[in-house]
């Protein structure tokens, strides 16, 4: 190795030594001739001629020496730099096009990398699974306490199994009361994930037992924002829901725990009241015992589920257990698909960009044809010229990659700001890491090869005779022309695929966004009222409190109406309930399920839901009165087909006040039917029609309460006075998540909006690039054919004929591209099917519009440069002949 480096370093002296040696050889040869009596000049000429091509010989000699390629590379780079500096316009346009394409690709790839390619950020991500109950229908469901405890005791497949419940607590004791999202988890939770605290510790094995559960682990984020990053925070006591908790640990910085919904982790201790089998409220995750496969775990849990179902048929008949890789839970299929589609789209944009640059390079190659021809005539071999030309384009590709990296970083940051929260899993840490860096540079080099190869191959085709003869006054060579046509076809085809895809998403999004939410969203404000459980010892104090809050807020000037609800519209349900219509056949474990929404009597008026039949709920439907319900249209249509639901009774287990449990079954008499409101939220898609029963909070009080307020004006202006009114009732009442219904509605379609907007932007860029490409090709070929056009004019063609000739030819190419693109789109848009709402992937209107748009743009892009043929002056052109 060392020797080789020495060789390499001494190449200059060796080079001159070689020169001298060859010179000496020729001199010897000449002297021999002179000795034979030839005159010196002729002798020398003869010697040189006999020696042959000295340049090629030296080339061959150099190849013998090691690392000749390095010599070539530096030589080629110098050559490339010189050339690029000579045409700054070409260089700038190329680098800008590549930087845009590569930058967008790098940005999207950074998301794909973080969300789809990287394993979850745990020591043994492949061993973590999510566990849930399986309904008779096969879909997953929350877990009941007793089922969960049985799983924990009976399984031999999980190393650790942890339950998780979402909750909200109110932090008091300093500043104003603050509502915080928390996860209540089993003590083994952090063992499942294999994550340790950065400061202090996580839960010890018995700390999820009642009495030992007053400890809290903080996220790094809240530790810094709320506790000033104080390292002595461990051991400090804080008050949550009026109970004292000790801080025992702080989780790692910049981890998923800083990006997730919860900011604190509390132990999940089951009280005797929780010990039921029919109230489903828990999530669970588990880590597989080392050596246990997913299949084995599934088999074992199936057996356990079957055993429980046999023992407790009333609650569990037909129910089972679902075990899935945790990754599948974290990355939902819709997100997975959206990301791949976007990466493919941005890749297509990059390809179109490449085609454009290839076109430019081809055009430049024709200008350089003469130079290349001379170089080959002097003995340059094709295998030496192609790398030389490729070096130039790869160098450009690398420059584009570097610029693209900077741009991509900016794009990625912008997108992260723009992304709605919760859209990405918290585990995904999107950033420009080495993987993305490497990917980007490889893409840069590949682009360089891609756009450089075609021009390099065609540019060095050994057709010296024609090149040299026709230099300067060519009628463009055939091969590059064919290649340009192919490039245009590819551009048009790719653009069409993107346009069709974007069109489909736009159409679907419009339909989704214009879905009637079933409520009147104008001037309605929603806010959460978290209730510390400990403050209300019985249901009467709670219902009185809620009534008082409602009345105080109603008296605020500008407020038209106000109501309590357990969930604002389009934010899902607080509860679902299995039900039985009185008098029908009952299979306890297979009862149908409806939404169970607890509201204040004024809810329907406040959010503008129309009563279809019977009466609304009212203030007389109190705890002591007969339990009544208003059902929605879907419920009436699905379960009271051809019957009048009014007066029928629906059996539903009561929610027990203050406990995560269900009480005895009570009959709810149907008094009215309302039109559907869209449920949405995390679990249901916005377009699902779900049966719902509505009851008053007097008859089913609970701790999940929000307020909806209809105002006479912009409701956000009233938020301050509404808060003041609430605090007049209770100074410690936190008010959280103040949003208008309009905002909630727009958030509910945010993921669809985002992917639609991104794909539309990519399609727009593609269209623009394709137009630039067509413009370039037409204007170049017109420039090349001026002579031919002049002759045609001189022979009597009209300018209009020429225009038709040029445009017709180009549009034919465009049509071929459209046809190919149509075929590709037919195959590719199918992957969009699951992302489309009420829109077929072969939606005729979208396809026609996309095709027409592309054809129009193409026509314009070729009309403007083609117009030049009409201005050709045959006399001026032909005089030069």
């Amino acid at each position: 190795m060392l020797e080789r480096i020495k060789w390499w370093l001494s190449r200059r002296s060796r080079e001159s030594s070689m020169q001298q040696e060859l010179e000496a050889h020729i001199a010897c040869e000449a002297e021999e001739q002179i000795d034979r009596g030839v005159d010196p000049v002729t002798a020398r000429e003869a010697a040189i001629k006999a020696f042959g091509n000295r340049a090629i010989m030296m080339e061959d000699a150099r190849r013998v020496w090691t690392w000749a390629w390095l010599g070539h590379l530096t030589q080629d780079l110098k050559y490339a730099l010189r050339n690029l500096r000579k045409s700054p316009g070409f260089t700038a346009v190329t680098i800008a096009t590549l930087a845009l394409g590569i930058g967008a690709t790098a940005a999207i790839f950074s998301f794909v990398n973080a969300v789809l390619l990287k394993p979850l950020p745990y020591p043994y991500p492949e061993r973590i699974v999510s566990v849930s109950e399986k309904l008779p229908s096969g879909s997953s469901n929350f877990i009941s306490t007793l089922n969960f405890l049985d799983w924990g005791r009976q399984n031999r497949c999980f190393q650790f199994l942890s339950a998780i419940a979402r909750d909200k607590v109110t932090l008091t004791g300093s500043d104003s009361p603050e509502e915080l999202n928390v996860h209540r988890v089993s003590a083994s939770y952090f063992k499942v994930l294999g994550v340790d605290a950065e400061l202090g510790r996580t839960f010890a094995p018995d700390e999820d037992q009642v009495g030992k559960d007053q400890e809290v682990v903080l996220s790094n984020g809240i530790w810094r924002s709320r506790f000033g990053g104080d390292p002595k925070v461990i051991g400090r006591k804080i008050t949550l829901d009026a109970r004292s908790y000790t801080i025992i640990g702080v989780l790692p910085a910049n981890s998923e725990f800083d990006r997730t919904w919860a900011v604190m982790w509390l132990p999940l201790a089951f009280t005797p009241a929780n010990m039921t089998r029919n109230y489903h409220w828990l999530y669970a995750i588990a880590s597989l015992e080392p050596g246990v496969t997913l299949k084995q775990a599934r088999e074992q849990m199936d057996a356990i589920g079957a055993r429980i179902a046999a023992l407790y048929p009333d609650s569990n008949k037909g129910w089972g257990v679902t075990v899935n890789p945790y990754t599948d839970e974290v990355v939902q299929p819709e997100l997975r698909r959206s990301l791949w589609v976007l990466l493919a789209a941005v890749g297509a944009v990059l390809l179109i960009g490449c085609a454009n640059v290839a076109n430019l390079t081809l055009a430049r190659g024709m200008d350089r044809e003469h130079e290349i021809a001379i170089r080959s005539a002097l003995g340059a071999r094709r295998l030496r010229l192609i790398p030389q030309l490729l070096t130039e384009s790869i160098f450009l590709g690398i420059l584009g990659g570097v610029a693209g990296l900077a741009l991509g970083n900016a794009f990625m940051r912008g997108m992260k700001v723009w992304l709605p929260p919760d859209m990405l899993p918290p585990q995904a840490n999107v950033r420009m890491d080495y993987g993305v860096l490497l990917f980007t540079m490889v893409i840069g080099i590949l682009t360089g090869i891609l756009f450089g190869l075609a021009p390099a191959l065609s540019g060095t085709r050994p057709d010296l005779f024609r090149s040299l003869k026709e230099s300067g006054r060519t009628t463009a060579g055939l091969t590059p022309h064919r290649m340009k046509t192919a490039l245009v076809v590819a551009e048009v085809a790719l653009s069409f695929v993107l346009l069709a895809g974007a069109g489909l998403l736009i159409r679907s999004f419009n339909r989704l966004a214009s879905l009637n939410p079933g409520v009147d969203t104008t001037n309605v404000l929603a806010m959460d009222l978290p209730m510390p459980r400990t403050e209300f010892t019985n249901s009467t104090t709670l219902t009185n409190y809620l009534r008082e809050v409602t009345q105080k807020v109603r008296s605020v000037p500008g407020v038209r109406d106000v109501a309590i609800t357990d969930k604002p519209p389009m934010e899902g349900f607080a509860n679902g309930a299995p039900f039985l219509i009185e008098g029908r056949e009952d299979i306890p474990s297979q009862r149908p399920v409806s939404g169970f929404k607890v509201i204040g009597p004024s809810y329907f008026d406040t959010v503008g839901m129309r009563l279809l039949k019977g009466r609304s709920l009212d203030e007389s439907d109190v705890a002591a009165a007969m339990p009544v319900t208003v059902i929605n249209e879907t419920m009436a249509k699905t379960y009271f087909k051809g019957e009048d639901p009014i007066g029928k009774r629906i059996l539903i287990r009561q929610l027990v006040f203050g406990k995560s449990a269900r009480g005895p079954e009570i009959p709810w008499q149907v008094v009215g039917v309302v039109r559907d409101e869209k449920v949405g939220g995390k679990v249901f898609s916005l377009d699902e029609d779900i049966p719902v029963v509505y009851v008053t909070f007097y008859q089913s009080p609970g701790f999940s309460n929000s307020l909806v307020v209809r105002a006479a004006m912009d409701p956000l202006l009233l938020s301050g006075s509404i808060e003041q009114a609430i605090w007049k009732v209770n100074n410690n009442q936190a008010v959280a998540n103040i949003e208008t219904l309009g905002e909630i509605e727009s958030q509910s379609v945010a993921p669809a909006r985002l992917r639609t907007a991104l794909l539309a932007i990519f399609a727009g860029i593609a269209l623009l690039l394709a137009a630039v490409g067509i413009y370039g090709v037409v204007s170049y070929s017109v420039g090349q054919r001026v002579r031919e056009m002049a002759i045609r004019l001189a022979l009597g063609a009209s300018p209009g004929d020429l225009l038709k000739l040029v445009i017709g030819k180009t549009m034919l190419v465009v049509l071929v591209g459209l046809a190919l693109g149509g075929g590709a789109a037919l195959a590719l848009t199918r992957v969009l099917a699951s992302l489309l709402y009420d829109t077929s992937p072969t939606d005729g209107v979208t396809w026609v519009v996309a095709g027409a748009l592309l054809a129009t743009v193409a026509l314009l892009a070729c009309y403007f440069p083609a117009r030049r043929v009409t201005k050709v002056d045959p006399l001026a052109v032909l005089r030069f002949e």
Binding site: A24, C28, M57
Partner: protein, 115 residues
């Protein structure tokens, strides 16, 4: 009289190394001298192509079978003289052996074909 160019024989692939090594067996020579020696010793039948001679020389030099040195030649012009090294002498033996076996093999094949 030297043979007409058409009578000359193109060197077989891989034989140039052997011929160069052999030419140097009786003392150092420069590139031109090697050409002449090969031509002379083959009764002008073998023609050395300069395009392959020098690359071959550099290759042999790199393999340390020959070593080159600049020296004054008779006509007060410095020339690069190549000398056979010890390793080169050994290599010459190997190459010569290989060639003889090859020639023998080819002759056998040719004779059989004629029969």
């Amino acid at each position: 009289m030297p043979p007409k160019p058409s009578d000359r024989i193109e060197l077989l692939q891989g034989t140039l190394d052997l011929l160069v090594l052999r030419s140097l067996l009786f003392g150092p020579l420069h590139g031109h001298g090697i050409t002449k020696a090969i031509q002379r010793n083959s009764d002008e039948l073998l023609q050395v192509d300069h395009g392959s001679l020098y690359p071959a020389l550099y290759r042999l030099e790199q393999k340390k079978w020959i070593s080159g040195k600049w020296q004054q030649s008779g006509k007060d012009r410095p020339m690069k003289f190549y000398r056979l090294t010890v390793a080169g002498k050994k290599q010459l033996g190997i190459e010569q052996n290989k060639w003889e076996q090859m020639a023998k093999a080819i002759r056998l094949v040719l004779i059989r074909e004629v029969e």
